[in-house]
Amino acid sequence: MKSWKKIVAIAAAASMMSALLVGCADDTTTNQPSGSGESQSGEETPDDTSSAEVEEFTYPMKDAQSFRVLGMCVTGVKPYYGESNMNLSEYTKEAERLTGIDIQVEHLPVTDKTNFNLAITNGNYADAIEGLVSGNYTGGVAQAAADGIIIPLEDLIEKYMPNLTALMEEYPTIRAQITMDDGHIYGIPGINLSKDEEGHATNGLIIRTDWLEECGLEMPKTIDDLYKVLVAFKEKYGASIVSQTNLVTQGTLVNAFCPNVSAGFGLDESGNAYSLYISDGYRELLSTVNKWYEEGLIHADFLNFKVADVRKKTLAGEVGVLWGMGGSTMNTMLQEATAAGVEIKVEAVPPLAKDASSPILNNNNGEYIKATPNLFITNLCDEKKYESICRYYDFMFTEEGIRLGNYGIEGVSYYINADGLETFTELMLHNEDGFTTVQMMGVYCRNHSSGFVGIQEYNYLRNYYMANPAASRASDIWSDVPATSAPNIPVSFTNYYTTAEAEEVALIKTDIDTEFTSKRADFIYGKLDVDDDAVWADYVNTLKGMKIDRYTEIVNNALDKKAQVLKDQYGIVE
């Protein structure tokens, strides 16, 4: 009897111990790929490295070093392959084949700040980091550079990246956008290169055109028009505006009231930044939305909705006007409508003016040419691997590489149509196994998703939405603004924060955002009267107490510094 008890005890203890050790076991398994990567690269080490610099370089690269990169996983890879592993994707395999460079993508267990910073603390990050630094490293790129995590790249770019160099010479603003305050370039960019005549707005208002026709109304041109449409829809169909929070943070509505806004700041006539949160324009916007709420024109729960709720409610016929993205809202919704047999006609709403006498203000998101530093080489990387990494990513700026990143593999995922444009095949648009277009893009392409390196062509958007004509028109319609409209505040100004300023902004911003978002809800729902001057002054004073003026000052400093650098070094006046 007693010995039996002991056996049970041992078994129980052993099983508990093993449960405890699962955490450690996991660590070793995640480490394995990195270990094998090292050994593989060891085997491939060429006998003489000097031969690399002989004459013209051609792909595939000879004597390439394999390298590890800590990266993101694109939507679609998980459903298609059953696991979040970019190494499986057709894109990665094809890139490896064309460049001759073996790349091993590693992923965080969950892509968020905590896991990223844990990886940094453990020293468990790869030779290179794709995308994750700017959003996740406390203090951003500048701080990561100051802490010695990432290395300056301008010499390497000069030496090993002829295609990127040529591009930066053609468009100096790219270099300006990725150069940091200390004068170094740390990130190889992903570039959104849309020419002026092409669309670049990816979100805005969407309207039920079948209802518009039934009511005998025209496509709204001003906020007042929109109000009339909303009233008519409410009376006839009991429908309202539905949206996520974004309705009041970006796109059509915000642009109608507050010119040239991005990331909480706008530019006034004299080119100075002003804070959206305490501007008169935004107050007007809140007052308008509050009026819509009081009259039941906007869905009461809109601050609580996710994009799936928005699509569901629209398909259920409860919605006449909605805010959404061209892809995840409009395109997906239309694909869902076809699948469910719902008859629905929607169209993008062109940019609205505040009233008949006001001009239409800008509706694009940031700069026309937008370069984001995305690929960073870390301090852990062996110097021998520098060339391979640079060559691999420079390939993404070649014609072949751009096609691969945007459209995948010719003859499989795209073909060249009669107009000479890359066009997705049926495999991508109407997949037999039921994968959506964006999921298939995750398998074959890379440049539609954040953290990419290379050039994102506008034509990929046309392809993305091609199955739905209304969605494929959307971006053009949303971007249809007069050429006279002033440019938005450039997004890349944050590169020009000093590390001390970046830290200060991080502190101020969290407080301000908390206060702003909760007061915004109070104003919209009428808990606080936005039209009452005393109430508004009280709110503005609270934000001023949280140093919003200092924040604006830092932003203006960065803008000035950026303009100075552009003028002095590249002769560009924006």
Binding site: L303, T514, S518
Partner: protein, 311 residues
């Protein structure tokens, strides 16, 4: 207390060795738990030092000492009082409304005669406990939304057609009511267990003395589980300012920060979302200090008043 005479060191050592030889299997069972606490509860305390530093992951521990900078920032923060008020009110109402429910359930079950019914009913009220918090919260969100059945019921009375979770005055009600639904059955287990231990002779004696069902419950059952109730109460008081922030994170939104934002969610926003590790550690450490002092004083008071305490 067991030994009235003092033991020499040698004797003590011998006793321990002897005890270990005899009961080594039991020690073995305890071992993983001790290791668990060391690994996940005590060793991580080393990291609390970042509350006094400007911590940056790349540089590691022990650099950039800044003293009480982060604490000062929190004390002067405009949200300081709101966070404490919200946490306190949620806990206070929880103490009033959800704390007694498991006790009442246990007492009611104790009065049941049919054993089958008792077992079946028991199992049923435990079930919600096994639903993941994420699922419970999405259910709650659906039910109280403007289109949900609870949301509509409330709207028919108040005339405000809006999710209850967008109206700050209802947040505590939603939070506590859903908590009772999910947790009361499970919470009653400890009392049911305590009731198993009550000597049935006491009931017989009470009924001989002419006590009815009500009086039996009042004078026999309740005193029997009183120590358990008080211990639970002390534990509850100990967490007066720390609420299960996981559930609030799943339920709250910016429109109801004024009643729903508590220290845990604040720490989450500043620490996890905006990466201010040192500051959020300082905030968390401060609230833990308050909790520990609440806990100790509650224990002391109970020791003095009811002679029941944890130590």
């Amino acid at each position: 207390m067991a030994y009235k005479y003092r033991l020499s060191k040698e004797q003590k050592r011998k006793l321990i060795v002897k005890d270990f030889k005899k009961n080594w299997a039991i020690y073995l069972i305890v071992l993983p738990i001790i290791i668990y606490y060391l690994m996940f509860e005590y060793i991580p305390m080393y990291g609390v030092q970042i509350a006094f530093q400007d911590y940056r992951p790349a540089l590691g521990f022990g650099k950039n000492w800044v003293g009480f900078k982060h604490f000062e920032r929190f004390f002067t923060s405009p949200y300081f009082w709101r966070l404490f008020k919200n946490a306190f009110l949620i806990n206070w109402f929880e103490l009033i409304f959800s704390f007694p429910v498991p006790i009442i359930i246990a007492l009611l079950f104790n009065e049941l005669k049919s054993k089958t019914f008792k077992n079946v009913a028991n199992t049923f009220i435990y079930l919600p406990h096994f639903i993941t918090m994420v699922v419970v919260c999405s259910m709650v969100k659906e039910f109280v939304s403007a289109d949900g059945f609870i949301g509509q019921m409330v709207a028919s009375v108040t005339g405000v057609e809006k999710s209850l979770l967008l109206q700050s005055q209802y947040f505590r009600t939603v939070y506590i009511a859903s908590g009772v639904w999910q947790g009361a059955g499970w919470g009653s287990i400890i009392y049911v267990a305590a009731l198993q231990g009550v000597d049935t002779q006491l009931y017989d004696a009470a009924s001989v003395d002419g006590a009815g069902r009500w009086q039996q419950m009042w004078h026999v059952t309740l005193p029997a589980i009183a120590p358990t109730i008080i211990l639970k109460f002390i534990l509850e008081l100990g967490s007066m300012f720390s609420t299960g922030s996981q559930k609030i994170l799943l339920l709250y939104n910016e429109a109801i920060y004024d009643t729903a934002d508590v220290i845990g969610t604040y720490v989450h926003r500043y620490g996890m979302q905006s990466g201010q590790y040192s500051y959020s550690t300082a905030v968390g450490l401060f609230s833990n200090l308050i909790n520990v002092s609440m806990f100790i004083s509650a224990n002391q008071i109970s020791k003095k008043v009811a002679n029941i305490s944890l130590w």
